[in-house]
Amino acid sequence: MNLWKEYLHPQTVQEAVEALASATPPVIPIAGGTDLMLDLQQGNHAPVHTLVDLTGIAELRALEIRGEKLFIGAGVPHNRIVESPLVQEHAQSLVEACGLIGGPQVRNSATLGGNVAHALPAADGMIGLLALEAEAEVAAPTGRRLQPLQELFLGPGKSSLKADEIIVGFTLPLRKPHQASAFNRVMRAQGIALPILNLAAWLERDGETIRAARISVGPAGPTPFRARQTEAFLAGKIFSPETILGAQESLLAEAKFRTSPARATAEYRRELVVVLLKNALSKAWDRAK
């Protein structure tokens, strides 16, 4: 009853996807392992023969500007994201989201790639990233592709990645003048340390007008949610209490909240989402000066 039988240490992305395709099954990749190890230890994961450790792959730990994009390797631990001046400059909502997760021990291990693999609809890192219009670089044995972040999620715990695919990293547009983002969330004192609700907002400012906005919310459906109607509503509006009120109404109309037993009712989430939206928009607005 060992947690695994074989443990592989690929050094390149190619080695990793080949190992996932050809090693003794069942085979799965492990990055930070903060969720996977617990699932294995507690018997919540189907038995595994081979673990393919992705943390030795240099490319997955890259964090750099590539042309007009910021590249964050899928294996970069949360702590490095939080401390990185590049991420602080270009992805404030991601810094705020990653800084709130766990303690330093977990943040040292947990990765954004693992967030995708675990595919929770309200993972802080994913919500922080989603509002930044991030794309994922996916590696398969046959080659690589860029895919919008949201397409990676099929449902709670289900990603669209095939068994022999891994995420190499995420790319997001560099922040331009008068653009900014923000993230906030509400936790519950009791029970599992997952947010009751989290929300990230990105906007571009043109004087007193919102030129464009992006809103992501979790959990508001089976996958991380982009509030596109609300984004459309905000575009071109003067930033004012009336606009925020309108955005709140729009968000309530398009987001589908559900009741989680012993955690939060859908009604409570509706109360919280208007608070979180206002806070995040106001914070991003001030930052976008």
Binding site: M37, A193, Y268
Partner: protein, 955 residues
């Protein structure tokens, strides 16, 4: 891609090891390198106790694959001090006192370790390696952390003793010392108002050094040659009859050495602390009463095989309807789960006639309250190791709050005389009442007896949560009458307590809940009725506060209700009715002395005004927060009392033995338990005081049924009082014996012999303690005294008179912040005044006060052990949250010393009172802030939001 060898550096030493499939870094460090300073508290990445540094960053070794450490450099707690002190495994039995020649490690400590020691951040010590390693990583990156930085870094490194304030201060002090090169600054803790040579002054725990170096040995850190590992098949259903047990597959599994069921128990089948009603294992045809009932036990060559074997045991049940609450258990037509029925005990308090009091009252209020079961969540899960000896005896290594009771229960199950069993108590990673009952002691002993090999039984956190007794869930109805001027005229209370499947200490706990259910007030007419009910939930037993936490929540909420109804100041209402000397409690006990409640009330209310800058009239009003219109602040207030000692007519006895050794050192011994609360420090201090020697000259040995006299149970805030007295009187008697011997030899009156730190002065010359030892031996006197201390006699409930030898009193004020947009609650500040009689060790006392407040915050806002139809929902640490450093309010500790005549130097108990007023102080503050009254715990933020909205609508 596959590694055949792992190469890693640990604490500067390079190791090359073959990988083991499935191995975690924690297992590699603990099992292969024997670096047992790294602790496993949860094995689910929740508690942080297993934190080590990997290439400069803190990681959780319990959820890090060992293979990931290949090529990396690891630092564990053992690697922090340049010359770590390693004491022999049995040093736990010395209360951790480094023997002479083994000490001197202090010089080698890292400033963080030194600060944790001197500031008193070390209590049970189990979490300390994780705390220090996480702090170390912080200081490496951020040499000058602020309090906010520290809280952010230690957010997920839990301490159940909740020494968070001192942990924070320790880190600040260490950072300063590292920066300036100056020595680590000590803590600011005022001494007692009355100090002796040792008593009343700040004293460092005797086991603190080994607890910060990783040298401290807890039970799971021990390994014996040829040792087997065991696991228990649990029923997994809350109520059923067992119809079939098939162990054949388990037995056939290679590596399995023994499988036992109830049919194989050689002795008694039932165990228990007061009532023997708890089956060691449930056999075919017998009744399962909760999910944690044991069906079979397995011993195997490895832990993994033992667990695999348990999974192969097949059990068939005839399921029965489930009783899931105390109220349901008393209804007609319910199944009766014990032969005598579902009622464990109807407990009654009768004083006067409440109907008369209610008739005299101008106001009568009535309300019903609910409190949930809660878990102790001591950081160290239960572990027992049974070791059969060649001479036919059995040793059981275990951290237990009642070693002699363990001996009784283990020997009963084996069918042996008690003397054949020896309980060798180990350091305990917290207990809080949760290590009074049998956990794995009997099962380990049965398997060791059958196999003839040592057997370890270690609970994981999941098993710990499901199996051991909890705090009683209660329903409490309070009816309270008062005159217009606030004089209380009558109280009537009705309590339902859910004692779960087995009695444990249920009757005692709920008796305390009942006798304290009308608060620390003078009320002429009190009736209380409590129904202690069996249910199919996990058993409920002792837990810090022992029932009084529950009844104080109900009554202190009613007191605030009453103050509001009468338009009276809530502090004044309590002050007016507070028990004073000359007043009589609900059970008819007249307070003759040591009733410091009024002083507690006055000091807390004064401090509240002082720190807030508000007048008394303004204190309890809601205050908006400038610049944050969604936030509201307010203070809340509560008081409480709690008995010291068993009382109720029980023989409250403790034995202690003090011996002078040839090297001039003393040892004090008792089987009282050290669970982190600091008893060993108290014992050391009182013996040093009585013999006028420095405390380092006194070692302490506790919890060994062969070597230490029975100290009774470590419960009821009793040990400072009873074992403190036993130690003091044993030392005093030894001193008298020394005087008598020297007086005879030197032909002096005994009172002309003086004891001093340098030795004993006789005729102008000073004899060292080595010389005194020689003189005693030469005179044919054994320099050793065993003293059995009997606390003053008490009366059983219902007979009036003294039910308890003493009461501790407390008042607390809590300031909360409510987010009116989300319902979130933060506790900003708590002022806690406790009448402890006498502060023997102000440093240990501070830790108890702060830890109690934080645990109280947990009970108010976080903690809820949830069962559904007898099944445990909160069966992982991730589902049962306890306070982290983020929940720590700013705490002001005020010590009130109204001495108890028979307590050692006037001391009475403190372990429980410190937590009791916190929940109602917080919920009263919530009401004062936003007008929402909570009649249940813990506070639910969503419900708070809805209630605030409802108030707005109806306003």
């Amino acid at each position: 891609m596959k590694k055949t060898q792992l190469s890693l550096t640990v604490n500067g030493q390079t190791y090359t090891l073959a990988p083991i499939p499935g191995e975690t870094l924690a297992d590699l460090l603990r099992k292969r390198l024997h670096l047992t300073g790294t602790k496993i508290g949860c094995n689910e990445a929740e508690c942080g106790a297993c934190t080590v540094i990997m290439d400069g960053e803190p990681v959780l070794s319990c959820s890090t694959p060992a293979e990931r450490a290949d090529g990396k450099s690891i630092t564990t707690i053992e690697g922090l001090a340049p010359a770590p002190l390693r004491l022999p495994p049995n040093s736990a039995n010395l209360g951790g006192v480094p023997r002479r020649g083994e000490g001197g490690a202090e010089g080698g400590l890292h400033p963080l370790q030194e600060a944790f020691v001197t500031h008193g951040a070390v209590q049970c010590g189990f979490c300390i390696p994780g705390q220090i390693m996480t702090s170390y990583a912080l200081l490496q990156k951020n040499p000058r952390p602020t309090s906010a930085d520290i809280r952010h870094a230690l957010k997920d490194t839990l301490c159940r003793c909740a020494g968070y304030p001192t942990i924070e201060n320790s880190i600040l002090a260490a950072a300063k010392a590292l920066e300036t090169g100056e020595p680590v600054a000590g803590p600011e803790v005022p001494p007692s108002a009355e100090q002796g040579q040792v008593i009343g002054r700040v004293q460092i725990r005797p086991d603190a050094v080994e607890k910060v170096t990783g040298a401290a040995i807890f039970t799971d850190d021990l390994t014996f040659e040829n040792m087997l590992f065991s696991a228990v098949k649990r029923a997994g259903v809350p109520h059923a009859f067992v119809t079939k047990i098939d162990i054949s597959k388990a037995r056939a599994l290679p590596g399995v050495v023994a499988v036992m069921t109830a049919a194989d128990i050689p002795g008694e089948h039932l165990h228990g602390l007061v009532i023997f009603d708890w089956p060691v294992m449930v056999g075919v045809g017998e009744r399962v009463r909760y999910v944690g009932d044991a069906i079979a036990i397995v011993a195997a060559e490895t832990q993994e095989i033992a667990k695999e074997a348990v999974a192969l045991i097949e059990v068939e049940f005839d399921l029965q309807p489930v009783i899931s609450s105390a109220v349901q258990a008393r209804e007609d037509g319910q199944p009766q789960i014990h032969a005598k029925g579902n009622l464990l005990k109807h407990i009654k308090v009768r004083k006067g006639d409440p109907e008369i009091g209610f008739a005299e009252a101008d106001v009568v209020l009535e309300h019903t309250f609910h409190t949930p079961a809660t878990d102790h969540l001591f950081m160290e899960p239960e572990c027992s190791i049974a070791v059969p000896l060649a001479d036919g005896r059995m040793e059981v290594y275990v951290g237990s709050q009642i070693p002699y009771q363990d001996r009784t229960q283990v020997s009963r199950a084996l069918g042996w005389p008690e003397e054949r069993v020896r309980i060798v108590g180990q350091l305990m990673g917290g207990g809080f009442g949760g290590k009074e009952d049998i956990a794995g002691q009997i099962h380990a002993a049965l398997l060791a007896n059958l196999t003839g090999r040592p057997v370890k039984l270690l609970f994981d956190r999941h098993e710990s949560l499901i199996v051991h007794p909890k705090r009683h869930a209660t329903q409490i109805k309070v009816k309270l009458g008062a005159k217009k001027d606030g004089t209380l005229t009558a109280a009537k209370t009705e309590l339902y307590g859910d004692t779960g499947a087995y009695a444990s200490l249920g009757e005692k706990v709920l008796t305390r809940a009942t006798t304290h259910s009308a608060g620390p007030y003078k009320i002429p007419h009190v009736h209380a009725d409590c129904y202690a009910m069996y249910t199919n939930n996990p058993p409920a037993g002792a837990f810090r506060g022992f029932g009084v936490l529950q009844s104080a929540f109900a009554f202190e909420t009613m007191m605030d209700n009453l103050a509001e109804t009468l338009g009276m100041d809530r502090v004044e209402l309590r002050r007016k009715n507070a028990l004073r000397v000359g007043d009589e409690t609900s059970t008819g006990q007249v307070m003759r002395e040591s009733a410091g409640l009024v002083e507690c009330i006055d000091k807390v209310s004064g401090e509240m005004c002082q720190v807030s800058g508000l007048s008394r009239a303004e204190l309890f009003k809601a205050r908006p927060v400038p610049g944050a219109p969604h936030l509201v602040h307010a203070w809340g207030f509560a008081s409480a009392f709690k008995n010291t000692g068993l009382g109720g007519g029980a023989d409250d006895t403790s034995g202690a033995e003090v011996e002078l050794y040839s090297d001039g050192s003393f040892q004090v011994r008792s089987a009282a338990a050290e669970l982190g609360q600091g008893l060993v420090t108290i014992m050391q201090m009182v013996v040093a005081e009585e013999l006028s020697v420095p405390s380092r000259q006194v070692s302490v040995l506790v919890m060994d049924t062969d070597l230490t006299p029975n100290g009774g149970p470590t419960t009821a805030s009793r040990q400072t009082y009873v074992t403190g007295n036993a130690s003091r009187l044993a030392a005093r008697t030894l001193r008298e014996a020394i005087c008598a011997t020297l007086a005879e030899k030197y032909d002096l009156a005994p009172d002309q012999i003086r004891f001093s730190a340098a030795g004993v002065q006789v005729n102008g010359q000073t004899l060292s303690m080595q010389q005194v030892y020689s003189e005693m031996k030469a005179a044919g006197k054994d320099p050793r005294v065993l003293y059995e201390y009997h606390a003053p006699e008490t009366k059983p409930l219902g007979q009036g008179g003294d039910m308890h030898v003493a009461f501790s009193f407390a008042s607390q004020a809590a300031e909360v912040e409510i987010n009116t947009n989300t319902g979130e609650v933060r506790v900003l500040r708590v002022i806690s005044a406790n009448d402890v009689g006498r502060a023997i060790n102000p440093l240990g006392l501070r830790g108890q006060v702060e830890g109690g407040v934080v645990m109280g915050v947990g009970h108010a806002l976080l903690e809820n052990f949830i069962t559904k139809d007898g099944y445990v929902v909160t069966d992982r640490m991730s589902r049962y949250r306890i306070p982290s450093i983020m929940h720590m309010p700013e705490i002001t500790a005020i010590v009130v010393e109204d001495p108890a005549k028979d307590g050692p130097y006037g001391a009475k108990g403190v372990g429980e009172i410190v937590l009791i007023p916190t929940p109602p102080a917080i919920t009263n503050a919530i009401y004062n802030a936003v007008g929402v009254r909570f009649d249940y715990l813990p506070v639910d933020q969503e419900k708070l939001l809805w209630a605030m909205r409802e108030n707005t609508r109806t306003a």
